[in-house]
Symmetry: D2
Subunit: 183 residues, 4 copies
């Protein structure tokens, strides 16, 4: 049974709201075990446990808050080189449109690539002018249904890839899941 | 008299609209000469001419369209190493929020840094949840006034920096210009 | 039988030499079909064919040469949304150390992520002070054995991931392949 | 009199060695006041004081060590929006070639851009196959003369730009300084 771990950090609650929606999306895929924790309560065992990881943080200076970087920096001595090949994706909330949420997603993906993860973005549009090609990147909190769907789709896709690649469930390849990808 | 050049590329007209607004912002600063051209009609002489350059493109695969990259790639043999120290900034329109417009701005800034430019982003919020820390990055066309203001502020700030740093006009340092920077 | 496609571009021959070594590495993994083409002779059918893709270019302005971007830009209308989930990695040769080869690798990975690929870097050191965390990034051509090993390891790892994830060959998970990963 | 501040972080001493050389380069430009501090002993007053800032860190996961991010994150509440227009550049030492030092430089530049800085890279080659287009990015410590020259040139260029743009010393425009830029 594929396992998805959502690790997030949040001060204002915005990224927490995103994490909840990512978890909702992951849970919608049958046969996937979903776990979610804030970074302070998370340990390396959560990373070992997971097949797929969604990592979400606020955007501080277009980059990862130091509190989250500390977790991943300090995990190097024990975990680096032991978790290659896990599947990773990212989400981030910034202070505003154009404030760096996309760049933070790239930064989060880069950190995971350094650990040997396979990371991905999503081609689908969830609504006109709303997509998540490098992860879910939002200004502020998810307010509209489209913004919520961005987060949900991220969790769903991560779970689909885990289901397809780790559990070998052919029908969970995203190309076989019936939603309108490019509306 | 400081000179600002706006080079853009546009297929759908979205980035063209952004360029028009960037030009409007640059023109609002007294004592600045503003020139704007689509990349196909632009030559290296426009780059030599300018003190400050705003470079704008659509976001194609979170990156610069090949038509624009061709201009900058081919300019290397003649211009590289001769235009260091010019001031640069970026703008981009993507297919959607989360589609890569911020990342394209970083890419454009990176290209300009390779030419030795000094590049910048902007701290100001032009409205709640609307900013331009790495350039003006919009989904689609500028529709709301805030989205228009993002583009206008970019051109204005470029002109301010040129006025301050190249022409030595102290009162055009952005910290002395009376607008609400952090609403 | 897993399929690996190496697409490269080269003007001076440096990236071509890297591509040859990447192919050598991929071929070393049993049960993998390897194909290599220069971008001008490549078509979308090569992309459709492949399970894993190593994309390599020289570093032009810390970014993809326009000739390669043209291929991937123009492939959007036919291929985008149809090739999600393929496995991708990158290699690049720059004019010098500090010239942008790493940044070009990130750019290549970003383009592939836009197409929905799962992209990865490699934790292994192939020799002291020589690694490939974001792909094989070299100044000039591969000259020392360590620099050659960087390229070889990239192709090998891509083939290993394809073998493990696509063909389900458990013993090709990199953690089970006997080489010294962290010397 | 233009002021250059070099802020660095170092655990192994590699980045410290780079910082010393950057300081040496900055000091070589007449009329520039140079200050250097490790991040733990640095305060926001150093940032206020400086016209130009060289920021250097080891590469941890292709990114800024959390100890340094903490400094810049926590400076937001007091300093953000008050230091726009300063001139910034970056340097980084990674565990190996291909380990992320270039990407870390981009990350450092991105953080400084978020604060409104004007950031730059350097076109010059200091020796065949040795350059610093996005800052000084080295595997390990600076060992060869070329690697030392990369660091020295970075400090020198920062001081030249400060001298030219802040102090208005025309002859310190890099194009007028007699060194072989493109050997």
């Amino acid at each position: 049974m594929g396992k998805v771990f959502i690790q997030y950090y949040s001060k204002t609650g915005n990224t927490r709201q995103m994490a909840d929606l990512v978890a909702q999306g992951a849970t919608s895929v049958e046969g996937i075990d979903v776990r979610m924790k804030i970074v302070e309560e998370s340990t390396i065992d959560d990373i070992y446990w997971a097949d797929g990881i969604a990592l979400g943080t606020p955007c501080h200076l277009a980059s990862v808050p130091w509190e989250v970087k500390k977790f991943w920096d300090e995990m190097v001595s024990e975990g680096w080189g032991k978790i290659d090949g896990k599947i990773g994706c990212a989400f981030s909330s910034s202070g505003g449109l154009g404030g760096g949420a996309e760049i933070t997603c790239i930064e989060l993906l880069t950190i995971m690539m350094n650990y040997g993860f396979m990371v991905f973005g999503i081609t689908d549009y969830v609504a006109p002018l709303r997509t998540l090609h490098y992860g879910a990147a939002l200004p502020g909190e998810p307010r509209t249904q489209a913004e919520k769907d961005i987060c949900i789709r991220l969790g769903q896709r991560l779970a689909e890839w885990v289901s397809y690649y780790v559990d070998g469930v052919e029908e969970n390849h995203p190309s076989k899941v019936p939603y309108d990808r490019f509306k």
